[in-house]
Protein backbone atom coordinates (compact mmCIF):
# COMPACT_ATOMS: atom_id res chain seq x y z
CA UNK A 1 0.00 0.00 0.00
CA UNK A 2 1.32 3.43 -1.01
CA UNK A 3 0.67 6.05 1.62
CA UNK A 4 1.19 9.76 1.01
CA UNK A 5 0.51 11.36 4.36
CA UNK A 6 0.10 15.15 4.63
CA UNK A 7 3.01 15.86 2.32
CA UNK A 8 4.18 19.37 1.50
CA UNK A 9 6.93 20.22 -0.98
CA UNK A 10 8.58 23.61 -1.14
CA UNK A 11 10.41 25.15 -4.09
CA UNK A 12 12.16 28.31 -2.97
CA UNK A 13 9.55 30.45 -1.28
CA UNK A 14 6.64 28.65 -2.97
CA UNK A 15 4.75 25.61 -1.74
CA UNK A 16 4.28 23.37 -4.80
CA UNK A 17 2.46 20.69 -2.80
CA UNK A 18 0.58 21.47 0.35
CA UNK A 19 -0.76 18.94 2.82
CA UNK A 20 -1.35 16.26 0.17
CA UNK A 21 -2.68 12.91 1.36
CA UNK A 22 -3.31 9.95 -0.95
CA UNK A 23 -3.38 6.19 -0.62
CA UNK A 24 -3.12 3.47 -3.23
CA UNK A 25 -3.51 -0.27 -2.70
CA UNK A 26 -2.05 -3.06 -4.88
CA UNK A 27 -4.09 -3.76 -8.04
CA UNK A 28 -5.67 -0.32 -7.81
CA UNK A 29 -5.21 2.66 -10.09
CA UNK A 30 -5.27 6.27 -8.95
CA UNK A 31 -5.27 9.05 -11.53
CA UNK A 32 -4.05 12.51 -10.54
CA UNK A 33 -5.55 15.20 -12.77
CA UNK A 34 -5.37 18.97 -12.80
CA UNK A 35 -4.21 21.99 -14.77
CA UNK A 36 -0.63 22.54 -15.93
CA UNK A 37 1.52 23.62 -13.02
CA UNK A 38 -0.84 22.18 -10.40
CA UNK A 39 1.90 19.94 -9.03
CA UNK A 40 0.93 16.62 -10.64
CA UNK A 41 4.44 15.61 -11.67
CA UNK A 42 5.75 16.81 -8.31
CA UNK A 43 3.57 14.17 -6.66
CA UNK A 44 5.44 11.51 -8.65
CA UNK A 45 8.82 13.09 -7.90
CA UNK A 46 7.99 13.20 -4.20
CA UNK A 47 6.89 9.54 -4.18
CA UNK A 48 10.20 8.58 -5.81
CA UNK A 49 12.17 10.75 -3.39
CA UNK A 50 13.45 12.94 -6.23
CA UNK A 51 12.29 16.05 -4.38
CA UNK A 52 12.46 16.35 -0.59
CA UNK A 53 9.28 16.69 1.42
CA UNK A 54 9.15 19.80 3.61
CA UNK A 55 6.74 17.89 5.84
CA UNK A 56 4.75 14.67 5.83
CA UNK A 57 5.72 11.14 4.96
CA UNK A 58 5.51 8.82 1.96
CA UNK A 59 5.76 5.03 2.45
CA UNK A 60 5.12 1.73 0.68
CA UNK A 61 3.97 -0.93 3.14
CA UNK A 62 5.28 1.27 5.98
CA UNK A 63 8.80 1.30 4.53
CA UNK A 64 10.61 3.80 2.27
CA UNK A 65 9.15 3.67 -1.24
CA UNK A 66 12.58 3.15 -2.84
CA UNK A 67 12.89 -0.28 -1.21
CA UNK A 68 9.98 -1.54 -3.32
CA UNK A 69 11.87 -0.60 -6.53
CA UNK A 70 8.98 1.24 -8.16
CA UNK A 71 8.97 1.85 -11.91
CA UNK A 72 8.46 5.15 -13.66
CA UNK A 73 7.16 6.00 -17.13
CA UNK A 74 8.53 9.46 -17.77
CA UNK A 75 6.66 12.27 -19.47
CA UNK A 76 9.34 13.07 -22.09
CA UNK A 77 9.59 9.83 -24.09
CA UNK A 78 12.95 10.27 -25.82
CA UNK A 79 14.63 12.11 -22.96
CA UNK A 80 13.79 9.18 -20.70
CA UNK A 81 16.47 7.03 -22.37
CA UNK A 82 20.25 7.17 -22.43
CA UNK A 83 20.94 8.52 -25.95
CA UNK A 84 24.14 6.46 -26.24
CA UNK A 85 22.50 3.13 -25.52
CA UNK A 86 20.15 1.04 -27.64
CA UNK A 87 16.59 0.92 -26.37
CA UNK A 88 17.09 -2.79 -25.70
CA UNK A 89 19.90 -2.16 -23.18
CA UNK A 90 17.87 0.55 -21.44
CA UNK A 91 14.68 -1.50 -21.40
CA UNK A 92 16.50 -4.49 -19.87
CA UNK A 93 18.18 -2.48 -17.12
CA UNK A 94 15.43 -3.06 -14.51
CA UNK A 95 15.96 -6.81 -15.02
CA UNK A 96 19.75 -6.88 -15.26
CA UNK A 97 20.12 -4.47 -12.32
CA UNK A 98 18.26 -7.01 -10.18
CA UNK A 99 20.67 -9.74 -11.32
CA UNK A 100 17.86 -11.65 -13.03
CA UNK A 101 17.84 -13.39 -16.38
CA UNK A 102 15.75 -11.93 -19.17
CA UNK A 103 12.43 -13.70 -19.65
CA UNK A 104 12.19 -13.76 -23.45
CA UNK A 105 8.56 -14.87 -23.55
CA UNK A 106 7.57 -11.99 -21.27
CA UNK A 107 9.53 -9.55 -23.42
CA UNK A 108 7.91 -10.91 -26.59
CA UNK A 109 4.45 -10.67 -25.09
CA UNK A 110 4.93 -7.09 -23.92
CA UNK A 111 6.48 -6.05 -27.25
CA UNK A 112 3.57 -7.63 -29.06
CA UNK A 113 0.98 -5.91 -26.84
CA UNK A 114 2.74 -2.57 -27.12
CA UNK A 115 3.16 -2.96 -30.89
CA UNK A 116 6.95 -2.60 -30.68
CA UNK A 117 8.63 -4.23 -33.67
CA UNK A 118 11.73 -6.29 -32.71
CA UNK A 119 14.15 -4.09 -34.65
CA UNK A 120 12.94 -0.95 -32.84
CA UNK A 121 14.66 -2.08 -29.63
CA UNK A 122 18.01 -2.20 -31.43
CA UNK A 123 17.83 1.51 -32.27
CA UNK A 124 18.84 4.46 -30.13
CA UNK A 125 16.15 6.78 -28.75
CA UNK A 126 16.88 9.45 -31.35
CA UNK A 127 16.29 6.92 -34.13
CA UNK A 128 12.70 6.10 -33.21
CA UNK A 129 9.48 8.13 -33.24
CA UNK A 130 8.24 9.75 -30.04
CA UNK A 131 5.38 7.27 -29.95
CA UNK A 132 7.78 4.31 -30.23
CA UNK A 133 9.95 5.78 -27.45
CA UNK A 134 6.89 6.21 -25.25
CA UNK A 135 5.85 2.58 -25.74
CA UNK A 136 9.44 1.48 -25.01
CA UNK A 137 9.22 3.49 -21.77
CA UNK A 138 6.13 1.54 -20.77
CA UNK A 139 7.90 -1.72 -21.67
CA UNK A 140 10.85 -0.77 -19.44
CA UNK A 141 8.49 0.03 -16.57
CA UNK A 142 6.64 -3.28 -16.76
CA UNK A 143 9.46 -5.66 -17.71
CA UNK A 144 10.60 -6.43 -14.15
CA UNK A 145 7.07 -6.82 -12.71
CA UNK A 146 7.34 -4.01 -10.12
CA UNK A 147 4.78 -3.67 -7.31
CA UNK A 148 4.26 0.06 -7.95
CA UNK A 149 4.29 1.83 -11.32
CA UNK A 150 4.17 5.61 -11.69
CA UNK A 151 2.94 6.86 -15.07
CA UNK A 152 3.52 10.52 -16.01
CA UNK A 153 1.36 11.27 -19.08
CA UNK A 154 2.07 7.76 -20.43
CA UNK A 155 -0.04 7.99 -23.60
CA UNK A 156 0.50 11.61 -24.65
CA UNK A 157 2.56 10.82 -27.79
CA UNK A 158 0.28 8.05 -29.10
CA UNK A 159 -2.61 8.31 -31.53
CA UNK A 160 -6.16 7.66 -30.40
CA UNK A 161 -6.29 3.99 -31.38
CA UNK A 162 -2.82 3.11 -30.05
CA UNK A 163 -3.61 4.97 -26.83
CA UNK A 164 -6.52 2.68 -26.17
CA UNK A 165 -4.64 -0.51 -27.09
CA UNK A 166 -1.79 0.50 -24.79
CA UNK A 167 -4.10 1.44 -21.92
CA UNK A 168 -5.78 -1.93 -22.23
CA UNK A 169 -2.46 -3.80 -22.16
CA UNK A 170 -1.41 -1.91 -19.00
CA UNK A 171 -4.75 -2.80 -17.40
CA UNK A 172 -4.37 -6.47 -18.42
CA UNK A 173 -0.85 -6.64 -16.96
CA UNK A 174 -2.12 -5.01 -13.77
CA UNK A 175 -4.91 -7.57 -13.53
CA UNK A 176 -2.40 -10.42 -13.83
CA UNK A 177 0.40 -9.01 -11.68
CA UNK A 178 -1.39 -6.77 -9.22
CA UNK A 179 0.82 -3.72 -9.34
CA UNK A 180 -0.46 -0.43 -7.98
CA UNK A 181 -0.63 2.29 -10.66
CA UNK A 182 -0.39 6.02 -10.04
CA UNK A 183 -1.18 7.89 -13.26
CA UNK A 184 -0.67 11.58 -13.82
CA UNK A 185 -2.63 12.72 -16.86
CA UNK A 186 -4.40 15.59 -18.58
CA UNK A 187 -6.72 13.12 -20.22
CA UNK A 188 -9.84 12.74 -18.14
CA UNK A 189 -11.24 10.20 -20.59
CA UNK A 190 -8.32 7.86 -19.90
CA UNK A 191 -8.56 8.52 -16.17
CA UNK A 192 -12.28 7.86 -16.10
CA UNK A 193 -12.00 4.65 -18.12
CA UNK A 194 -9.02 3.01 -16.42
CA UNK A 195 -8.56 4.49 -12.94
CA UNK A 196 -10.47 3.35 -9.88
CA UNK A 197 -10.20 6.78 -8.30
CA UNK A 198 -9.49 10.30 -9.53
CA UNK A 199 -7.64 12.85 -7.41
CA UNK A 200 -8.03 16.47 -8.49
CA UNK A 201 -5.02 18.63 -7.76
CA UNK A 202 -5.09 22.40 -7.96
CA UNK A 203 -2.31 24.78 -6.97
CA UNK A 204 -0.61 22.02 -5.00
CA UNK A 205 -3.68 21.04 -2.98
CA UNK A 206 -5.99 18.06 -3.32
CA UNK A 207 -9.48 19.32 -4.14
CA UNK A 208 -11.13 15.90 -4.08
CA UNK A 209 -10.50 12.17 -4.42
CA UNK A 210 -13.52 10.48 -5.96
CA UNK A 211 -14.30 7.10 -7.52
CA UNK A 212 -13.91 7.65 -11.27
CA UNK A 213 -17.48 6.71 -12.25
CA UNK A 214 -18.87 9.03 -9.59
CA UNK A 215 -16.49 11.77 -10.73
CA UNK A 216 -17.81 11.65 -14.31
CA UNK A 217 -21.36 11.91 -13.04
CA UNK A 218 -20.89 14.47 -10.28
CA UNK A 219 -17.50 15.87 -9.23
CA UNK A 220 -17.46 16.95 -5.61
CA UNK A 221 -15.44 20.14 -6.01
CA UNK A 222 -16.08 23.22 -8.15
CA UNK A 223 -12.75 22.80 -9.89
CA UNK A 224 -13.43 19.11 -10.48
CA UNK A 225 -16.63 20.15 -12.22
CA UNK A 226 -14.75 22.68 -14.39
CA UNK A 227 -12.28 19.95 -15.39
CA UNK A 228 -15.01 17.44 -16.10
CA UNK A 229 -16.97 19.96 -18.21
CA UNK A 230 -13.81 20.86 -20.16
CA UNK A 231 -13.30 17.17 -20.94
CA UNK A 232 -16.86 17.03 -22.29
CA UNK A 233 -16.23 20.18 -24.38
CA UNK A 234 -13.15 18.55 -25.90
CA UNK A 235 -14.83 15.22 -26.59
CA UNK A 236 -12.42 13.46 -24.17
CA UNK A 237 -15.55 12.36 -22.31
CA UNK A 238 -18.88 11.77 -23.93
CA UNK A 239 -22.25 11.58 -22.35
CA UNK A 240 -23.33 7.99 -22.75
CA UNK A 241 -27.06 7.59 -23.26
Amino acid sequence: MLSVDRVSVRRGANMVLEDVSLSLAPSRTLAVVGESGAGKSTVINAVLGLVPCASGQITWNNAPVGLSRPALVMQEPRGAFNPRMSLRLSVMEPVTARGRAIDQSRLDRLCNGLEIAPDVLDRRPTEVSIGQAQRAGILRALIAAPPLVLFDEPLSALDAVTQKHTARLIAQMQLEEGFAALIVTHDLGYAAAFADDIAVLRAGRIEEVTASKAFVEAPQSNYGQILRDAAFALGALERVA
Partner: protein, 227 residues
Protein backbone atom coordinates in the same frame (compact mmCIF):
# COMPACT_ATOMS: atom_id res chain seq x y z
CA UNK B 1 -12.61 32.87 -51.11
CA UNK B 2 -12.95 29.14 -51.73
CA UNK B 3 -9.73 27.24 -51.11
CA UNK B 4 -9.00 24.92 -54.00
CA UNK B 5 -5.85 22.88 -54.61
CA UNK B 6 -5.13 19.97 -56.89
CA UNK B 7 -2.33 17.43 -57.06
CA UNK B 8 -0.81 18.00 -53.61
CA UNK B 9 1.88 15.39 -53.02
CA UNK B 10 5.06 14.84 -51.04
CA UNK B 11 7.97 12.43 -51.04
CA UNK B 12 10.66 11.72 -48.45
CA UNK B 13 13.84 9.80 -49.24
CA UNK B 14 12.29 8.66 -52.51
CA UNK B 15 9.16 7.33 -50.78
CA UNK B 16 5.76 8.88 -51.45
CA UNK B 17 4.32 10.00 -48.12
CA UNK B 18 1.45 12.01 -49.60
CA UNK B 19 -0.26 10.72 -52.74
CA UNK B 20 -1.80 13.14 -55.22
CA UNK B 21 -4.58 14.90 -53.31
CA UNK B 22 -7.22 17.44 -54.33
CA UNK B 23 -9.03 19.58 -51.79
CA UNK B 24 -11.71 22.24 -51.76
CA UNK B 25 -12.79 24.18 -48.68
CA UNK B 26 -15.53 26.82 -48.83
CA UNK B 27 -15.36 30.15 -46.93
CA UNK B 28 -15.99 29.70 -43.23
CA UNK B 29 -16.15 25.90 -43.53
CA UNK B 30 -14.87 23.84 -40.61
CA UNK B 31 -13.07 20.71 -41.68
CA UNK B 32 -11.34 18.05 -39.61
CA UNK B 33 -8.38 16.04 -40.88
CA UNK B 34 -8.13 12.87 -38.79
CA UNK B 35 -6.08 9.68 -38.92
CA UNK B 36 -3.53 7.59 -37.09
CA UNK B 37 0.05 8.71 -36.39
CA UNK B 38 2.07 8.58 -39.59
CA UNK B 39 -0.99 8.66 -41.85
CA UNK B 40 0.19 11.92 -43.43
CA UNK B 41 -2.05 14.49 -41.71
CA UNK B 42 0.69 16.99 -40.86
CA UNK B 43 2.40 16.42 -44.21
CA UNK B 44 -0.83 17.31 -45.99
CA UNK B 45 -1.26 20.36 -43.73
CA UNK B 46 2.25 21.63 -44.58
CA UNK B 47 1.84 20.88 -48.31
CA UNK B 48 -1.49 22.72 -48.33
CA UNK B 49 -0.07 25.79 -46.57
CA UNK B 50 3.01 25.90 -48.83
CA UNK B 51 0.96 25.53 -52.02
CA UNK B 52 -1.63 28.14 -51.04
CA UNK B 53 1.08 30.61 -50.07
CA UNK B 54 2.80 30.03 -53.41
CA UNK B 55 -0.57 30.78 -55.10
CA UNK B 56 -0.78 34.04 -53.14
CA UNK B 57 -3.73 32.93 -51.00
CA UNK B 58 -4.07 34.02 -47.40
CA UNK B 59 -3.45 31.04 -45.15
CA UNK B 60 -2.11 30.73 -41.59
CA UNK B 61 -0.68 27.74 -39.75
CA UNK B 62 -0.71 27.07 -36.02
CA UNK B 63 1.74 24.30 -35.04
CA UNK B 64 1.15 21.70 -32.36
CA UNK B 65 3.42 23.37 -29.82
CA UNK B 66 4.00 27.09 -29.31
CA UNK B 67 7.71 26.21 -29.02
CA UNK B 68 7.69 25.69 -32.80
CA UNK B 69 6.42 29.23 -33.39
CA UNK B 70 8.13 31.32 -30.71
CA UNK B 71 11.82 32.17 -30.34
CA UNK B 72 12.71 31.89 -26.63
CA UNK B 73 15.25 34.72 -26.99
CA UNK B 74 12.76 37.25 -28.40
CA UNK B 75 10.04 39.23 -26.65
CA UNK B 76 6.38 38.64 -27.44
CA UNK B 77 6.25 42.21 -28.84
CA UNK B 78 9.04 41.28 -31.29
CA UNK B 79 7.07 38.25 -32.50
CA UNK B 80 3.99 40.40 -33.03
CA UNK B 81 5.90 43.07 -34.99
CA UNK B 82 7.57 40.36 -37.07
CA UNK B 83 4.22 38.75 -37.91
CA UNK B 84 2.76 42.12 -38.97
CA UNK B 85 5.88 42.85 -41.01
CA UNK B 86 5.70 39.49 -42.79
CA UNK B 87 2.21 40.44 -43.98
CA UNK B 88 3.30 44.01 -44.92
CA UNK B 89 0.79 45.34 -42.43
CA UNK B 90 1.43 48.49 -40.39
CA UNK B 91 1.28 48.24 -36.61
CA UNK B 92 -2.35 48.55 -35.55
CA UNK B 93 -3.08 48.75 -31.86
CA UNK B 94 -6.82 48.28 -32.21
CA UNK B 95 -6.37 45.12 -34.29
CA UNK B 96 -3.97 43.77 -31.70
CA UNK B 97 -6.32 44.60 -28.86
CA UNK B 98 -9.24 43.04 -30.73
CA UNK B 99 -7.41 39.75 -31.22
CA UNK B 100 -6.02 39.73 -27.68
CA UNK B 101 -9.50 40.37 -26.35
CA UNK B 102 -11.02 37.61 -28.52
CA UNK B 103 -8.43 35.12 -27.27
CA UNK B 104 -8.42 36.50 -23.73
CA UNK B 105 -4.73 37.29 -23.48
CA UNK B 106 -5.06 41.01 -22.76
CA UNK B 107 -3.22 40.51 -19.50
CA UNK B 108 -0.03 39.24 -21.14
CA UNK B 109 3.09 41.40 -20.81
CA UNK B 110 4.47 41.83 -24.35
CA UNK B 111 7.87 42.85 -23.01
CA UNK B 112 8.37 39.32 -21.68
CA UNK B 113 9.81 36.40 -23.61
CA UNK B 114 7.65 33.34 -24.31
CA UNK B 115 8.66 31.56 -21.12
CA UNK B 116 7.28 34.50 -19.14
CA UNK B 117 3.82 33.47 -20.33
CA UNK B 118 1.93 30.28 -19.46
CA UNK B 119 1.72 27.53 -22.11
CA UNK B 120 -1.97 28.25 -22.65
CA UNK B 121 -1.33 31.96 -23.18
CA UNK B 122 1.59 31.19 -25.52
CA UNK B 123 -0.63 28.98 -27.68
CA UNK B 124 -3.38 31.62 -27.75
CA UNK B 125 -0.78 34.25 -28.70
CA UNK B 126 0.34 32.06 -31.61
CA UNK B 127 -3.29 31.69 -32.72
CA UNK B 128 -3.76 35.48 -32.45
CA UNK B 129 -0.64 35.98 -34.62
CA UNK B 130 -2.07 33.56 -37.17
CA UNK B 131 -5.24 35.65 -37.36
CA UNK B 132 -3.53 39.03 -37.88
CA UNK B 133 -4.14 39.03 -41.61
CA UNK B 134 -7.69 37.62 -41.35
CA UNK B 135 -6.66 34.56 -43.41
CA UNK B 136 -9.03 32.70 -45.70
CA UNK B 137 -7.88 29.45 -44.07
CA UNK B 138 -6.50 28.65 -40.62
CA UNK B 139 -4.68 25.31 -40.42
CA UNK B 140 -4.34 24.09 -36.83
CA UNK B 141 -2.19 21.02 -36.18
CA UNK B 142 -3.19 19.31 -32.90
CA UNK B 143 -3.83 22.76 -31.36
CA UNK B 144 -4.92 21.51 -27.96
CA UNK B 145 -2.64 18.56 -27.29
CA UNK B 146 -0.06 20.65 -25.40
CA UNK B 147 -2.72 22.34 -23.24
CA UNK B 148 -4.53 21.23 -20.13
CA UNK B 149 -8.23 20.50 -20.72
CA UNK B 150 -9.62 23.70 -19.23
CA UNK B 151 -7.36 25.94 -21.31
CA UNK B 152 -7.81 23.73 -24.38
CA UNK B 153 -11.62 23.82 -24.22
CA UNK B 154 -11.55 27.58 -23.60
CA UNK B 155 -9.29 28.15 -26.60
CA UNK B 156 -11.52 26.10 -28.92
CA UNK B 157 -14.62 27.94 -27.63
CA UNK B 158 -12.96 31.30 -28.33
CA UNK B 159 -12.12 30.21 -31.87
CA UNK B 160 -15.67 28.95 -32.39
CA UNK B 161 -16.91 32.41 -31.48
CA UNK B 162 -14.32 34.35 -33.49
CA UNK B 163 -13.90 32.57 -36.82
CA UNK B 164 -17.47 32.53 -38.26
CA UNK B 165 -17.80 36.32 -38.36
CA UNK B 166 -14.56 36.54 -40.40
CA UNK B 167 -15.50 33.76 -42.84
CA UNK B 168 -12.14 32.17 -42.01
CA UNK B 169 -12.22 28.47 -42.82
CA UNK B 170 -10.65 26.04 -40.35
CA UNK B 171 -8.71 22.86 -41.05
CA UNK B 172 -8.35 21.07 -37.73
CA UNK B 173 -5.66 18.36 -37.84
CA UNK B 174 -6.05 15.87 -35.02
CA UNK B 175 -5.88 12.21 -34.12
CA UNK B 176 -8.70 12.83 -31.67
CA UNK B 177 -12.03 12.06 -33.29
CA UNK B 178 -13.84 13.10 -30.12
CA UNK B 179 -12.51 16.64 -30.47
CA UNK B 180 -13.22 16.77 -34.20
CA UNK B 181 -16.74 15.44 -33.71
CA UNK B 182 -17.64 18.45 -31.61
CA UNK B 183 -15.83 21.13 -33.59
CA UNK B 184 -16.11 20.50 -37.34
CA UNK B 185 -18.90 19.86 -39.86
CA UNK B 186 -16.88 17.82 -42.33
CA UNK B 187 -14.30 15.10 -41.78
CA UNK B 188 -11.49 13.91 -43.99
CA UNK B 189 -9.94 10.63 -42.89
CA UNK B 190 -6.34 9.89 -43.86
CA UNK B 191 -4.58 6.57 -44.17
CA UNK B 192 -1.14 5.84 -45.62
CA UNK B 193 -0.81 9.23 -47.30
CA UNK B 194 -4.27 9.34 -48.89
CA UNK B 195 -7.64 10.83 -47.99
CA UNK B 196 -9.75 7.70 -47.88
CA UNK B 197 -12.99 9.26 -46.69
CA UNK B 198 -14.41 12.77 -47.01
CA UNK B 199 -17.96 13.30 -45.75
CA UNK B 200 -20.09 15.29 -43.28
CA UNK B 201 -18.99 14.61 -39.70
CA UNK B 202 -22.30 13.05 -38.69
CA UNK B 203 -22.13 10.64 -41.63
CA UNK B 204 -18.57 9.49 -40.85
CA UNK B 205 -19.46 8.99 -37.20
CA UNK B 206 -22.66 7.09 -37.85
CA UNK B 207 -21.59 5.03 -40.88
CA UNK B 208 -17.83 4.98 -41.43
CA UNK B 209 -17.01 3.31 -44.73
CA UNK B 210 -13.28 2.66 -44.56
CA UNK B 211 -11.17 0.58 -42.19
CA UNK B 212 -9.33 3.69 -40.97
CA UNK B 213 -12.55 5.54 -40.17
CA UNK B 214 -14.06 2.46 -38.53
CA UNK B 215 -11.00 2.11 -36.26
CA UNK B 216 -11.15 5.76 -35.25
CA UNK B 217 -14.89 5.59 -34.59
CA UNK B 218 -14.54 2.40 -32.56
CA UNK B 219 -11.92 4.04 -30.35
CA UNK B 220 -13.55 7.44 -30.14
CA UNK B 221 -14.93 7.16 -26.64
CA UNK B 222 -12.80 6.06 -23.69
CA UNK B 223 -15.88 4.90 -21.83
CA UNK B 224 -17.21 2.69 -24.65
CA UNK B 225 -14.20 0.79 -25.95
CA UNK B 226 -14.70 -2.19 -28.27
CA UNK B 227 -13.95 -5.58 -26.72
Amino acid sequence: MTISVTGLSATRSGRTILHSTNMEITPGERVGLVGASGSGKSTLGHALVDTLRAQGQSVAHVPQSPDEALDPMRSMAFHWREAEGALDLPADNSRQQGLFSALQIEGGDLRKRPWGWSRGMQQRFVIAMALIGTPDLLVMDEPTSALDPVVAAGTMDLLDAYLPSRKTALLLITHDLGLAALRVKRLMVMEAGRIVEDAPTAQVLSAPRTQAAKALCAHRNWLELPC
